[in-house]
């Protein structure tokens, strides 16, 4: 059996394409995050609302999104819904929507946790002053919740980034798609996927470090008084 010759130059040769692919991966993860941030807040507010129906719908949505694999959701949207409703999703939008839907379930939990973590006495003091519930929320509770919410939100983003790695299966031309195409041509999956793995881990570690320093910075002003 001939010994395999590692061809690390293949990475250099295709560096541009790989980086473009990486950009697409980041775009789709950010698109998913945007959807998740907005939809997640809506779901969280529904969950906390006094209407039992709204709360139940929000709760079921969260459970559903957390109980289904991302890949299934992706195919369901891109192939299933498209066929049933006679729509045409671009691979990128299907991917972004799928990421946004799962992400929103996790963000809803993050929002809820953050809001609950604010000292209940704050709400009482705000109400006792004569502020209405909406005013109390906007001026007192939410500002304090935001500080608590940022680190777990970063975690959700990392999760979305990792989830975004599978979108190449429906044809999004991300970094892994490029790796796949090139390695099929040149039989160098080891080198290419090693590179992809290294890039991924590097980004994750960088984000983790960033989040850690963010947490240190945000210590101010959020403690109980």
């Amino acid at each position: 059996m001939t010994k395999y010759i590692f061809d690390w130059g293949i990475i250099r040769d295709n560096f541009g394409a790989l980086m473009n692919g990486l950009k697409i991966t980041l775009y789709i993860a950010f698109a998913g995050l945007t959807i998740a941030l907005i939809l997640g807040l809506i779901v969280a507010l529904m969950r906390l609302s006094r209407s039992r129906t709204a709360s139940w719908i929000a709760g079921s949505f969260t459970q559903l999104m957390r109980g289904i694999p991302l890949l299934v959701l992706l195919y369901w949207i891109y192939y299933g819904v498209a066929a049933e409703l006679n729509l045409n999703f671009s691979p990128f939008s299907a991917g972004a929507i799928a990421l946004g839907l799962t992400g929103s379930a996790y963000m809803a939990e993050v929002y809820r946790g953050g809001l609950n973590a604010v000292d209940p006495g704050q709400r009482e003091a705000a109400l006792a002053m004569g502020l209405r519930r909406s005013q109390a929320f906007a001026a007192v509770i939410f500002p304090q919740a935001v500080r608590i919410i940022i680190p777990p939100t970063v975690n959700v983003f990392v999760g979305l980034l990792k989830g975004a790695t599978i979108v190449s299966v429906i044809g999004v031309t991300d970094m892994l798609y490029v790796a796949q195409v090139v390695s099929l041509r040149t039989f160098t999956p080891f080198e290419l996927y090693s590179a992809a793995g290294v890039v991924l881990v590097a980004i994750t570690v960088a984000i983790a470090g960033f989040s850690w320093s963010l947490e240190c910075h945000l210590g101010r002003g959020g403690n109980r008084v």
Partner: protein
């Protein structure tokens, strides 16, 4: 493409056996990989907590690595990459189980570590004062308490493993997702098939969460309120 006629579940029911076979395989893969992950996780956690510095560093690198990787990247690297480069030819299922075990062990080791650390130091001091040995302390004092904190997280990882097993379809493992894809294309009924697959995964996840809830109850001595029985435990952030 013209709109196919309305919702038709008949092809799904016709393929029920095949789909169930895939489902069973998925559950099998998840279970085996979690068991392996727990074993690996404990080892790595203990290494992280040891007084031997190189062991600590190695364990730290291990957890950072496997918590940063995505399953999709790792599985292709293991199945295709290793095969081409190092002539390591694993069967798809084996590759799948090994990869899932490695990835989940990263998260589990962190959970185990923080669960062990979370046990009050005062307990250890009191136990030492009585004259118990380190092993005895771990077995009778630290272990049981850490276990209570660890059970829900392990349940979450098992749930994640069930969901992650779907990704193994890309390397040809004939589990639920792979079969669903094949059949959806064959019958031109993607909506029905993918909805069914989604429902199956969802029920599996609910079932496993329910079982772990019971386990948690058994482990704790106070009554746990069972109002939210059919829900997932913690607000675990996705780590697939």
């Amino acid at each position: 493409m013209s709109k196919s006629a309305n919702f038709d579940l008949k092809p799904v029911f016709d393929s029920f056996g095949l789909l169930m076979h895939g489902f069973g395989l998925a559950m099998y893969i998840a279970a085996v990989s979690i068991i392996l992950a727990v074993a690996l996780g404990i080892i790595v956690a203990l290494m992280r907590l040891s007084s031997f510095a190189p062991a600590r560093w190695l364990a730290f690198a291990y957890t950072q690595l496997f918590r940063g990787l995505a399953l999709y990247v790792l599985i292709i690297w293991v199945y295709f990459g290793l095969a081409v480069a190092l002539n390591i030819n694993l069967a798809p299922i084996t590759a799948g189980i090994v990869t899932l075990a490695l990835l989940n062990s990263g998260y589990l080791s962190e959970t185990f570590r923080s669960g062990i650390l979370a046990v009050d130091r005062g307990q250890v001091e009191a136990a030492t004062a009585i004259g118990l040995s380190k092993a005895q302390i771990f077995r009778s004092v630290v272990g049981p308490q850490a276990l209570r904190k660890i059970a829900p997280a392990t349940g979450n990882q098992f749930v994640d493993a069930i969901k992650d097993s779907a990704i193994l379809s890309v390397i040809g493992v004939p589990e639920l997702m792979h079969e669903t894809q094949r059949l959806a294309q064959y019958y031109f009924r993607p909506f029905e098939f993918y909805t069914f697959a989604g429902a199956l995964y969802f029920l599996a996840v609910l079932g496993v969460s329910y079982l772990f809830r019971i386990l948690e109850r058994k482990l704790s001595n106070k009554t746990v309120e069972s109002k939210r029985f059919f829900s997932f435990q913690t607000s675990q952030i996705p780590n697939n």
